[in-house]
């Protein structure tokens, strides 16, 4: 086992080069080459037909909507769109591949030569896109028995072909060089921004937790100043933004360890483990791994007309950088606020919350101050924290209506994350409503005043600061549910000071 070299030390000696391959599962109603439905979570092997099961004699037919989505993704990534391109067969044997070849694209991708500008800590990196191509997903194997859950050592394996044939777009970057110590953040920011773009395009569910966006992280190190790329490892199916960052960090440390010991990095596939943040070796892979690609003879070439491409260009969402600038002005966020919002991946969430009628600063406060902390505690992305923009808006409206205050709102969020129902139901169940009826409040004030006559004297003597202590007692007695403003009014009234 190689000793890991701490990240900072590794980067003092080596320059990292990364390549990111992101698979986006499209949200078309039917599969890439057949009419089967694509719904997530159906009973195994219920969304299949002769074509996606690879039965002898069945033929593929291209899903026009998937081509449209591919072109829109390509355009949004500033790519060229091929005037003419073909599908190709990628031949290899695997039990969850119905035909033992994957219908993909090889040297004629639908989109190529693009870029995406990624912002990290106020600095912009241009990630160059080599290609975006169309392909079909494989089935899913479940290996039963055995220690690892992998095929080796399993007692038996089950295969679900529902996923076989679901349209995928694979987006491949050119090597990302020069990010240095920011490499893990650049990788994370790229995937995050790509995800936001996919969401804005509406072409995928874009759920990393459900595998509708899957990232493979290729990483190599070269001695500082060298212009040659080192041998890369390919870490597969890194399934959250946080994992993208961690996988890069881990691989940098691991590669540096091997290189420092004079070893050679093995070109191989590796698996990332969410629990430990480590990668382990998968199968060895060489450049010569031979997929025997050749053009798919069962499909005719895809030749999108320039008119269609331009028409689709007209449907693109706003450029993310321009949008960011626009929203900062519109929302009146300071540069610092905006940087935090951006780093947290909160902008689309804030935008959606504002869209529900909430003031931008309130939306920002909840997402960046309150919910981000919870997401970090839970080790999940902000978007997956368990609260939706609509729920944040509902909570803020209850605060505005003085049904609850900010402090109680936090408890409502607890309830929302615990899935206890709507904000109203949670308030009801947890008994969180502000006490707005003067009766109990007056009783609590009377008790507090009677218990601390010295403070009463101080207040009457003009020491208004002493009101705070009385307020504290009242809040304690009402379990925080008192409307603080009203309590203060009543106290002053009682003491004849209003």
């Amino acid at each position: 086992m190689t000793t890991l070299v701490p990240f900072d030390k590794a980067l003092a000696a080596y320059d990292p080069a990364m390549g990111l391959e992101v698979h986006v599962e499209l949200n078309t109603n039917s599969k890439m080459f057949c009419g089967c439905p694509t719904e997530f979570g159906a009973e195994p092997n219920t969304q299949v037909c002769p074509t996606c099961l690879g039965l002898p004699g069945a033929l593929p037919v291209v899903n026009h909507k998937a081509v449209e989505s591919a072109i829109r993704i390509g355009l949004a990534l500033n790519c060229e769109i091929a005037e003419w391109c073909r599908f190709a067969r990628k031949n290899y044997f695997y039990p969850d591949m119905p035909k033992n070849f994957q219908t993909s694209q090889y040297d004629e991708p639908i989109a190529f030569e693009g870029y995406m500008d990624v912002e990290v800590e106020g600095e912009t990196f241009r990630v160059e896109i080599e290609r975006a191509h169309m392909e079909e997903d494989t089935g899913k194997s479940l290996h039963v028995g055995g220690a690892t859950g992998r095929i080796h050592g399993a007692d038996y394996s089950l295969v679900d072909y529902n996923r076989a044939g679901i349209p995928l777009i694979e987006i491949v970057t050119k090597p990302i060089i020069g990010a240095g110590e920011k490499a893990p953040l650049v990788a994370k920011a790229y995937v995050a921004q790509l995800r936001d773009l996919i969401v804005a395009l509406g072409v995928s569910d874009a759920r990393m937790d459900q595998g509708s966006i899957r990232a493979d992280v290729n990483l190599s190190l070269a001695p500082k100043g060298s212009d040659k790329l080192g041998t890369r490892s390919e870490t597969k199916n890194v399934n959250s933004l946080r994992s993208v960052e961690r996988a890069v960090r881990f691989e940098v440390s691991r590669h540096a360890g091997i290189l420092n010991e004079g070893g050679k990095v093995v070109q191989e596939t590796r698996h990332f483990h969410e629990d430990t943040g480590e990668t382990t070796s998968g199968r060895e892979k060489s450049d010569a791994e031979d997929y025997r690609y050749f053009p798919e003879p069962d499909l005719v070439p895809v030749a999108p007309s320039r008119e269609w491409v331009e028409e689709l260009r007209g449907t693109l969402p706003e450029n993310p950088t321009a949008k960011k600038t626009r929203l900062q002005v519109e929302y009146g966020f300071t540069d610092l606020e905006m940087r935090d919002v951006w780093a947290a991946g909160a902008l689309p969430l804030i935008e959606a919350t504002v869209g529900e009628g909430v003031a931008p600063q309130s939306a920002r406060k909840w997402w960046v101050a309150e919910l981000l902390r919870r997401a970090n505690d839970a080790g999940v992305e902000l978007a997956e924290v368990g609260v939706t923009p609509a729920q944040v808006a509902a909570v803020q409206k209850l605060v505005d209506a003085k049904t609850i205050n900010d402090k109680l709102a936090r408890q409502v969020f607890d309830g929302l994350i615990a899935d206890e129902g709507t904000p109203e139901e949670i308030i009801e169940k947890r008994g969180l409503a502000l006490v707005s009826d003067d009766g109990p409040l007056i009783a609590a004030i009377d008790d507090a005043l009677a218990a601390q006559p010295d403070l009463v004297e101080k207040i009457k003597g003009g020491n208004m600061g002493a009101i705070g202590a009385i307020m504290g007692a009242v809040m304690k007695a009402t379990r925080g549910q008192a409307d603080a403003g009203r309590a203060r009014e009543l106290i002053l009234e009682k003491l004849g000071l209003s």
């Binding site: 002898p56 069945a58 039990p95 119905p98 070849f101 003879p297």
Partner: protein
């Protein structure tokens, strides 16, 4: 054998219409003939599976429709045999391979669905070289088919079963598939008619692919008109096959009827020099070819010579493209979802099960082509083999284009020889491959071709085929010229060539 069985499908359709025969009686007559000649050690063995029950039920349904005057097509009630390479609900589909033994598909090929929708009872599935790889039907894992003209000879291949079924009067019609000549060469050596339509004219959905860019479904019949009737029934665009042609092609039935007048005035017929000169052509084959050419000239056709120099490389290109596509197509036979599964002893991995199953399930010729294709597609060899072969393909297409500037149709013998003896070429794959010399170029170019019986070779008394080729989507031309030649020859012979075939009564046990 009843005279009924000797009738063409067009004639049978008329008899059904007149009410002088029922579909049930006709279908039963075919089934009886199958029992009489197809089974046993010396039987023709055209069928791998006979669906007597299904065929009679379909025939009864046809008779019921006819009684109500609700016919589905001009051939409603006329029985047919289907090559075992097309999927059929309720009937096994083996492709002549052990690896698919017992597999009953859950779906119908588009062609099969169209036959059913047109009311044709399906008698059963016909024998073929394993996965259509061969020119003799000897590579069937279920034993060879015998040539009805001489039971010790091959019926051609890969569709020897369909051709023999029609030649032996077991079925009036059959469906074949043609990747390099698998409809036309069996037609030639059994004295029957076989058509390879334009690539894409008939859906390939449900056709278990050998080489997707070359495979074409087509009719196997005893007359040119029957082939035309059948092509019109099963042809046309299929949304399930992206490579099927969406625009209509001229009526082939009209063309066959026009040709039957025997008049070819103004038609330019190009004789392909590369397929009529040089070594390897049996004298009796060339004699019948030359006579046929004279008849066409007498009928008013203008005969010209054309040269297609790239045809020389057609066989080499074919034996790269076909195995490349086949090696990938056959990868799906891995014992995971259907077909033969061989589980080695011990605790085998999925890969080991795949390997053992494929080793046991595929025959030698199939393995030979998988290895060839896998090698040719390998990284570093792709350009030299597959890439070069595709370039040759383009050159062949250009040769055709240039030749069709000079002639409306091109002609050659369908196959260089008559039927050889069973076993004769089994140890010499290259000799076997050469049997497809004349048919392969049209598959590489996607153009239509027909083989029409041209008589019997003097030296062995066995049938010879005459091939007519036309530009893509001009299938009507091969039907017109084919029908004309058929008319002229039958006039000369005083009846169909098959009248001269042995009667075969009682060959089955």
């Amino acid at each position: 054998m009843t005279d009924l069985l000797k009738k063409s499908a067009a004639e049978l359709a008329e008899l059904l219409a007149e009410g002088s025969v029922t579909s049930v009686a006709l279908t039963q007559a075919c089934l009886d003939r199958i029992s009489e000649v197809d089974t046993g050690d010396n039987g023709v063995h055209a069928f791998l599976h006979v669906d007597a029950e299904g065929a009679i039920a379909a025939a009864a349904a046809s008779d019921a429709r006819r009684a109500k005057g609700e016919l589905l097509s001009p051939l409603d009630g006329v029985p047919i045999a289907v090559k075992d390479v097309l999927t059929t609900i309720g009937q096994p589909t083996t492709c002549g391979s052990k690896i698919l033994e017992g597999w009953v598909p859950p779906y119908d090929a588009t062609v099969v669905a169209r036959l059913k929708a047109a009311g044709l009872p399906i008698l059963g599935k016909t024998n073929m070289d394993e996965f259509a790889m061969g020119s003799s039907t000897e590579h069937s894992a279920y034993g060879p088919t015998r040539n009805p003209w001489a039971l010790d000879r091959i019926p051609g291949g890969s569709g020897g079963g369909s051709a023999a079924a029609v030649a032996a009067f077991e079925a009036p019609l059959a469906i074949g598939t043609d990747t390099g000549g698998s409809i036309r060469q069996p037609g030639a050596v059994t004295g029957t008619v076989g058509v390879k339509p334009t690539y894409g004219a008939i859906s390939r959905y449900g056709l278990v692919a050998m080489a997707n860019s070359l495979d074409q479904v087509g009719p196997v019949t005893r007359t040119v008109l029957d082939s035309a009737l059948l092509q019109e029934l099963i042809g046309g665009h299929d949304p399930l096959d992206s490579t099927s042609i969406s625009e209509p092609i001229p009526s082939v039935v009209d063309a066959a009827r026009l040709g039957a007048s025997g008049d070819l005035t103004g038609v330019k017929v190009g004789v392909i020099q590369e397929l009529t000169t040089g070594e390897g052509w049996q004298p009796g084959v060339m004699a019948r070819f030359d006579e046929s050419l004279e008849l066409l000239r007498d009928a008013g056709a203008e005969i010209v010579e054309v040269s297609c120099p790239s045809f020389e490389h057609a066989l080499a290109a074919y034996y790269l493209i076909m195995p490349c596509e086949a090696s990938s197509n056959l990868a799906k036979f891995d014992a995971m979802r259907y077909g033969l599964r061989v589980t080695p002893d011990g605790d085998p991995s999925a890969e080991e099960v795949m390997r053992a199953s494929r080793d046991a399930g595929f025959g030698d010729e199939v393995k030979r082509r998988i290895i060839l294709g896998t090698y040719a597609l390998s990284s570093g060899y792709y350009d030299a083999y597959y890439g070069q072969a595709q370039k040759v393909r383009t050159l062949i297409q250009r040769d055709f284009a240039a030749a069709f500037e000079q002639a409306d149709v091109l002609v050659s013998p369908t196959a260089p020889t008559t039927a050889w003896k069973l076993g004769e070429k089994l140890d010499d794959p290259l000799a076997m491959y050469k049997g497809d010399l004349a048919t392969i170029p049209s598959n590489l170019a996607g153009v239509p071709g027909i083989s029409v019986p041209a008589g019997l070779a003097d030296e062995d008394g066995l049938p010879v085929g005459f091939q007519v080729l036309a530009p893509a989507k001009a299938d009507d031309r091969v039907y017109r010229v084919g029908a004309a030649l058929e008319t002229l020859l039958e006039k000369k012979w005083g009846g169909p060539l098959l009248d001269k075939a042995p009667v075969l009564e009682g060959v089955a046990r």
